[in-house]
């Protein structure tokens, strides 16, 4: 069997899994878990086997469903086309699916109607995987629809918990508006070009925009932006990520909003190739910068663990969009790298939140505390995730954020546009604020004092810890060996995005792109030289071990280290409480960053007003933003 069938089989396996769950998995828990695991393993293996031919050998897979190849230069059938960019996102998707499936086994064991959970989960997985590999715009729309409706179902899965149905409803409304825009855009496009194949569209639209296609661009751009939850479309995401089960929140932030990001990249880089225009770059970077800033400031104001993570998801997508919108090879590498890292660390953090929720029954940061004593493994994983997302060296978040800054500032100095310099500054400041809000979680949930209520909380079971460990290792590994990641994953994907003609020729036959006048603008190779995490880490570990031995373990001349393991009530080991008898006292989430919050209270008041929780308002934001994009497109795009 040749590997050109693998993409379709991978998608079909997941959909078949959903079907089989309905048929066989109604009564047996084992069968359900087995089907989900088996389907996700198979699709993971199939996609992983494509790395060699596609990423390393540089082949692009094209596959016509039912062998409906183009006739007389027009694509009729549905085509799957897996280029390096698509495969990059497909890898993120299958990794997320697999880890989430493993995590789900224990995580949802106490929920009712698990068969529905698995059906929806597998449908969602299949649709996102299909979305990133399809070569047909309408097929993409169908996948978006399946994705949206399964996601709505999963959002409201724990419908007994507070706000789940409401979140599902918001998601439904906003998601449907987004889908409608996409559909409308596709319809306009079809009317103009009489084809739905991406490659052919790309060839036809290259440097050839009529008002109708510009309208289609604006609508599709908005529709896909809704799916990637950038501001101002982020409003349903915050609720959905909070109320969905954590395994699903991880899927949402790991692949569902990546699907939107993928769609936007595909749209502006391949289908319309509008990203070379400075005005489009400005538009995307503006959206990205606003997204990362509003996301992170909203996150600072949250005191629910998962809601905070949800706003960080929004904020990190802002980084991805900003970097991708710069339209330099360094920028797109940075964006893709950050997208990948975001999948890893945000997934990890959502899994940690899930472990905390399962053990303690709450994610309210004002009611948690001191969990590091009871859940040390979760704490370790959480710290890895928190340091990664805050971009501390040598974790992966640092490597990608560093590339984002470099890309943004390179853009600033080469174009002489001071706007991009302020984008760089914003990105750095947002990064510090990200650190701040994760310090808040660390203090409020994992360190500090353990409330009596949580005194006998238990560590998460091994099957839940396993995906967390894997993701932690990946977070560290991709941070240290980022040059390998660049070489094998990012560079091919970036090249694919910049060489449109390959994409067109592979699907429509050699010479098609040339005939349509498509020229590839190839960008130079990014250089990274100054940061060598391997040497740095080696130094760090050596010096750390030496210093640790000197400080902590040496005996003799030095003072002893006394710690009271027995837990006897000796005043010596009590927390200093100004001389009083130490009472349980914990500085919780809402108490932190007081000085910052008072200085920004005007801003927070406005933001609070804007996030009213009323779905009508949110729908209005979407429509208003769509109007803005349309006006912008017609005013500035040439």
């Amino acid at each position: 069997m040749s590997y050109i069938h693998f993409p379709v089989i991978a998608v079909m396996t997941l959909f078949m899994g959903a079907f089989l769950t309905v048929v066989l998995g109604r009564h047996s828990k084992g069968v359900r878990s087995f089907i989900a695991l088996a389907a996700s393993c198979v699709s993971f293996a199939l996609i992983a086997m494509l790395v060699k031919p596609v990423m390393i050998d540089g082949e692009i897979i094209s596959y016509w469903m039912g062998n409906w190849a183009p006739m007389s230069g027009y694509a009729i059938g549905i085509g799957y086309e897996v280029d390096q960019l698509g495969l990059f996102f497909a890898l993120l998707v299958v990794t997320t699916i697999l880890l989430s499936a493993v995590y789900s086994i224990r995580y949802i064991e106490k929920d009712s109607s698990q068969d529905f959970y698995y059906v929806l989960f597998l449908m969602l997985s299949g649709s996102v995987l299909g979305l990133v590999m399809t070569g047909d715009v309408f097929n993409m729309f169908i996948m978006i629809e399946i994705m949206t409706f399964t996601a709505v179902g999963l959002t409201a899965f724990r419908n007994t918990s507070f706000g789940a149905v409401e979140a599902g409803f918001k998601y439904l409304v906003i998601g449907s508006i987004g889908s409608s825009f996409t559909l409308f855009g596709i319809a306009v496009l079809y009317g103009q070009c009489h084809t739905l194949n991406m490659a052919q569209l790309s060839a036809m639209l290259y440097g050839n925009h009529s008002p109708a296609t510009l309208m289609a661009f604006a609508l599709m751009f908005t529709g896909l932006a809704v799916k990637s939850y950038i501001v101002p479309f982020h409003t349903p995401a915050a609720d959905a990520y909070t109320t969905a089960p954590s395994s699903i929140s991880m899927v949402f932030s790991g692949m569902v909003n990546k699907a939107g990001v993928y769609g936007m990249i595909r749209l502006v880089y391949i289908i319309f190739r509008t990203v070379d225009m400075p005005s489009v770059q400005t538009l995307i970077v503006l959206f990205g910068t606003v997204t990362m800033f509003i996301g992170v400031t909203m996150a600072l104001a949250q005191h629910d663990f998962k809601r905070l993570l949800a706003f960080h998801s929004i904020s990190q997508i802002g980084y991805v969009i900003t970097a991708a919108g710069l339209c330099t090879s360094l920028g797109l590498s940075a964006g893709l790298f950050h997208a990948m890292n975001h999948t890893l660390f945000k997934g990890l953090l959502f899994l940690c939140a899930g472990a905390v929720l399962r053990s303690t029954g709450t994610t309210n940061l004002d009611q948690l505390g001191g969990l590091s004593k009871r859940m040390p493994k979760t704490t370790l994983c959480f710290l890895v995730g928190a340091f990664s997302i805050s971009g501390l060296p040598p974790f992966n978040g640092f490597a990608s954020k560093w590339l984002v800054y470099q890309a943004a500032y390179e853009k600033a100095v080469t174009t002489g546009n001071i706007f991009y310099a302020f984008v760089t500054v914003t990105a750095v400041v947002v990064s510090v604020m990200t650190l701040a809000s994760f310090i808040k979680v660390t203090q409020a949930a994992f360190f500090g004092q353990l409330p009596a209520r949580l005194a006998d909380v238990e560590e998460a079971p091994g099957l839940m810890l396993l995906p967390m460990y894997i993701m932690s290792l990946l977070c560290v590994g991709t941070g240290i060996f980022y040059d390998k990641v660049y070489q094998y994953l990012l560079d091919p994907a970036v090249r694919a995005a910049f060489t449109v003609s390959n994409y067109i020729d592979r699907m429509m036959g050699d010479g098609y792109a040339e005939a349509a006048g498509v020229e590839d603008v190839f960008a130079s190779n990014p250089h990274f030289s100054y940061w060598n995490p391997v040497i740095w880490l080696a130094l760090f570990v050596i010096v750390f071990c030496a210093a640790y031995i000197c400080v902590v373990t040496s005996k003799g001349s030095r003072g002893q280290i006394l710690s009271d393991e027995g837990g006897a009530e000796d005043g010596k080991y009590a927390t200093f409480f100004s001389g009083e008898k130490a009472l349980p006292s914990h500085v919780a989430g809402s108490d932190l960053f007081w000085g910052f919050k008072t200085d920004w209270k005007g801003y927070f008041r406005v933001m609070e007003g804007l996030h009213s929780g009323i779905v009508n308002d949110y729908a209005l934001y979407v429509v208003a933003a769509a109007a803005f994009v349309v006006v912008f497109t017609f005013a500035f795009l040439r």
């Binding site: 501390l392 650190l435 004092q449 760090f540 210093a547 009271d564 007081w594």
Partner: protein, 329 residues
């Protein structure tokens, strides 16, 4: 990299003695002593001897280390060492003018992030001690960090723009070399606001008065350090001293990078030694201006005022520089 024995010994020398561990520790504690002496002299006191930080450090080594009930022991004991290690490794990235451990490279953004490691270590350590005072302390430390990070990045970008022109330049080595041929950045009028801003960023980064809101001993009992005693506390105090040197050395490289003597007396060990001496002298001046002077004449900020001060006055100065540099001054 050369793996011969001599090469390995050279690297070991660089890490352990110069410009790594020993150099940073000795000069850091020396600067801390000078700071205390200068403040005392400005208040018409005699002041402690210059060796005082050494005494403090050694004394703390000899005290018991008490790990409180509420603390997470492993994190509590490891945190100061992580901060210390971060500083030692960072010192290797900061050149002594032309001379540095890793062939003249120190990326500004990497340095910016490495600088956060000691602060994060302090925060995590304080958080792990389980004290409510430490909770308030880490909150303030974090807000302080958010405050100075904005001006700091604008300063770094201004310098990068000035040196790189229309090319991306984040290399500290390149910045120093540029100054060797084009004159120190401190004498370029467009960068004077940035230099003033940097002088104000240093004390917040190090945490000296009036920006020591996080460790305010009179209000919140030393904040994150409240439960620490003995050797871990000694390491934290050492970290502060080392940060003093690293920040002033960074300042020297950014704004006075061109005063290397290598061009006068030829490259070699005497030039490096002389450079090191010059660098320490400039560091002393910077310590005086940015830490001792401000310490002696001001009282502690409130945290919300600190934040406002940095995001308006200091960031404004830095942004002024960026705009001036951007339009070719």
């Amino acid at each position: 990299m050369n793996f011969s024995l001599i090469g390995a010994l050279q690297i070991l020398f660089k890490i352990l003695i110069f410009p790594g561990l020993l150099f940073v520790v000795v000069i850091g504690l020396f600067l801390a002593g000078i700071d205390r002496k200068l403040v005392a002299r400005m208040q018409k006191r005699v002041g402690p001897p210059l060796r005082q930080p050494w005494f403090d450090f050694l004394k703390l080594l000899g005290k018991e280390t008490i790990v409180p009930h509420a603390a997470n022991k492993a994190v509590y004991l490891a945190a100061p060492v992580i901060g210390f290690t971060g500083l030692v490794v960072m010192a290797l990235f900061i050149p002594v003018f032309g001379y540095s451990t890793f062939s003249g490279n120190g990326d500004l953004i990497v340095l910016l992030y490495l600088l956060t490691i000691p602060a994060v270590a302090l925060i995590i350590g304080g958080s792990a001690s389980g004290s409510p005072y430490a909770g308030i302390g880490i909150s303030r430390e974090m807000v302080t960090m958010m405050s100075y990070e904005l001006p700091l990045i604008i300063i770094l970008l201004s310098v990068a723009r000035k040196v790189g022109g229309s090319a991306l330049c984040f290399s500290l080595g390149q910045i120093v070399n540029w100054q060797a041929s084009n004159g120190c950045l401190a004498f370029h009028p467009a960068l004077i606001p940035a230099m003033l801003a940097m002088l104000l960023v240093i004390p917040a980064e190090v945490g000296t008065q009036p920006f020591d809101v996080a460790e305010a001993e009179t209000e919140i009992c030393e904040g994150p350090l409240i439960e620490y005693s003995g050797a871990p506390l000694a390491v934290f105090k050492l970290n502060t001293a080392m940060k003093m040197f690293i920040m002033t050395a960074l300042f020297t490289n950014l704004f006075f990078g061109g005063v290397s003597t290598a061009s006068l007396i030829g490259a070699g060990i005497p030039a490096i030694a002389l450079d090191a001496v010059i660098m320490v002298l400039i560091c002393i001046v910077v310590t005086f201006l940015s830490m001792s002077l401000i310490h002696a004449i001001t009282a502690r900020f409130k945290i919300e005022h600190l934040f406002k001060f940095y995001w308006t006055v200091v960031a404004g100065l830095a942004a002024l520089s960026l705009v001036l540099v951007w339009f070719g001054l």
